[in-house]
Amino acid sequence: MSVVAASQVDRRTLIRQSARKSHRRRQIAGVVAAALCGLGLCIALVPLISIVALTVSKGIAAWSVDFFTRLPTPAGIPGGGIVNALVGSLIIDGLAAVMALPVGFIVALFLAEHEGRLANTVRFVVDVAAGLPAITIGLFAYAIVVLPEGHFSALSASVALAVLMLPIAIRAGETAIRTVPQDLWEAGIALGIRRARVARSLVIVSALPGLVTASLLAISRAIGEAAPLLFTAIGSQVFATSLGQPMASLSLVVYFDGIQPYPDLQRTAWGTALTLLVIVMLLNVSSRLLARRMRRFTR
């Protein structure tokens, strides 16, 4: 047997021995690692479950017919409700959606169909803007609406939320339009370039479920925001009679009532928090279900 072959056989035995000897250690290391990861999962789940469980239990205690149909009462006086906040959130977010979604989807169409420096710049800026702190956007709306007008208003709040919703509408919208199958777009072009615009509306119609999903996501994000409303709509104890007045909102109620030392106000805060949670979860779950149904239809 040559020297080379001998050393190779030695190496082979060495490898086999090492494999056998190290196996115990490797298995134990694996069990420890898996246990640590499992521990991480348990630790992660505890606060998340606690938030949902407590919001539900403490919030349900506040829910009643009065809660949803009456105006707020001062601390210590029972029978108050959040009806103005419900309506206020609806109005402010509805207006914001009307402002942001059409613009957002048109830009989404632009990004989906065009390439080049402008499109790439827009996409990059939109992605970065998605992470802008909500309070800075609120201050922006304050500066361009509240200051010139001289008073706080629901309109300024809608402007703030619209700017907040734009990046979500644009990104999710672009994804929705891009998933429209290529042949649909080509069929439209084949009908004659002059009809391309009509063909494009074909594309938009078939992207509709995706656009609805994008809308639900954007609205769900906006409804939960309080920071941009602090200096724009600033909240109210009554119904607003116009868009140019301060307006109540669910998210603001959670904040203003929650930090007060009065138990009944805190209870209202929990009830409002549960209301917000239910709305947001409904929006998210429906957008998810819609997305799943959409996936079943695209080939």
Binding site: I51, T136, A226
Partner: protein
């Protein structure tokens, strides 16, 4: 989608009507760009008086005293950085561990259900986190946790239901869902062929995770972490509930403090002193700049991940 090049070729042959259409679309794109740039510009213009008044002392000063028109942002920069650091320090190991467990060890159905639960929790509004943090976690911290921490050198002070550590923990809870969801998705996307390579050589399951999965998801996880950092830095409502509204550089983990965002939330509506409102807008500008840098970084990281994936395919 492979339509890009074809679409470009076809748009080159557009007739007049369609060229106008294209201009309109481009116009909207520019409009949106203008809006976002305007956000930064407007804040800067409004903040300018305070910047001019305080000079570089705005960013280096440690005193915030509106009644004497002294505006130094250091306490709030410190508060923001410390709370975000605590938040990430907790969320990263816990989040990655949880995600790896879900992706590699949990049975498929449980992993799917828990994964969806975690993702839905990412949609919980910040005010709800804040309320829970203030009314539930705060008392727990005050009565149970903080007294136990007094042996740590930097955790001295009276236990309160507010403070730096509490805010950091709340931020960790808020950032967790993002980190868990992204890491789990990335781990699930690692192809079976990489995993089988490790098994084929005689590796154990954990060795497979360490050799085939973790290195492959490294860049993507860093991107998710940076995104989480961006969210933590700008978080207002949850932090405002529990930070303690104290305008001083915190000298202890459990001391009350103030972040840039919570300062604005707490003081803006009562800002009547000269330059006060403008100074608060200056703080907003600082916050904006930091958030933009962090988010741009995250974006670039995510881009480099997708480029890597395209090159190896």
């Amino acid at each position: 989608m492979t339509g890009g090049r074809d679409r470009r070729r076809l748009t080159r042959h557009l007739r007049l009507g369609d060229r106008a259409y294209r201009r309109v679309l481009q116009g909207f794109g520019v409009f949106v760009l203008v809006i976002f740039v305007a956000v930064g510009a407007t804040l800067f213009i409004q903040a300018w008086p305070a910047f001019k008044h305080s000079g570089p002392g705005f960013v280096t000063g440690t005193t915030w005293d509106p009644s004497h028109a002294i505006y130094g942002a250091v306490p709030f920069i410190a508060g923001t950085l410390f709370t975000s650091a605590i938040g990430l320090a907790l969320a990263i190991p816990i989040g990655i561990g949880a995600a790896i467990f879900l992706a590699e060890y949990a049975p498929r159905r449980i992993s799917g259900a828990l994964g969806m639960l975690v993702e839905l929790l990412a949609a919980v509004p910040s005010v709800v986190y804040g309320l829970w943090g203030f009314l539930v976690l705060g008392p727990i911290f005050q009565n149970t946790i903080e007294p136990r921490l007094s042996w740590l050198p930097f955790a001295h002070g009276a236990p309160l239901p507010v403070g730096l550590l509490l805010a950091g923990v709340i931020l960790a809870v808020m950032v967790l869902p993002t980190i868990v969801a992204v890491t789990r998705d990335l781990a699930n996307a690692v192809p079976a062929t990489s995993r089988e390579a490790v098994f084929g050589l005689g590796g154990t399951r954990w060795q497979m995770v360490r050799t085939a999965v973790l290195p492959a998801i490294r860049t993507g996880v860093v991107g998710a972490v940076v995104l989480g950092l961006g969210r933590a830095l700008g978080e207002t409502m949850a932090v405002t509930f529990v930070i303690g509204n104290t305008n001083a550089v915190p000298n202890s983990l459990i001391a009350p403090a103030q972040t840039m965002a919570s300062l604005i939330a707490n003081e803006f509506t009562e800002a009547t002193e000269p330059f006060h409102a403008s100074a608060l807008l200056g703080i907003a500008v600082l916050l904006l700049v930091i958030a933009v840098i962090v988010n741009a970084l995250a974006r670039l990281l995510v881009w480099s991940v997708s480029r890597e994936v395209r090159e190896t395919v």
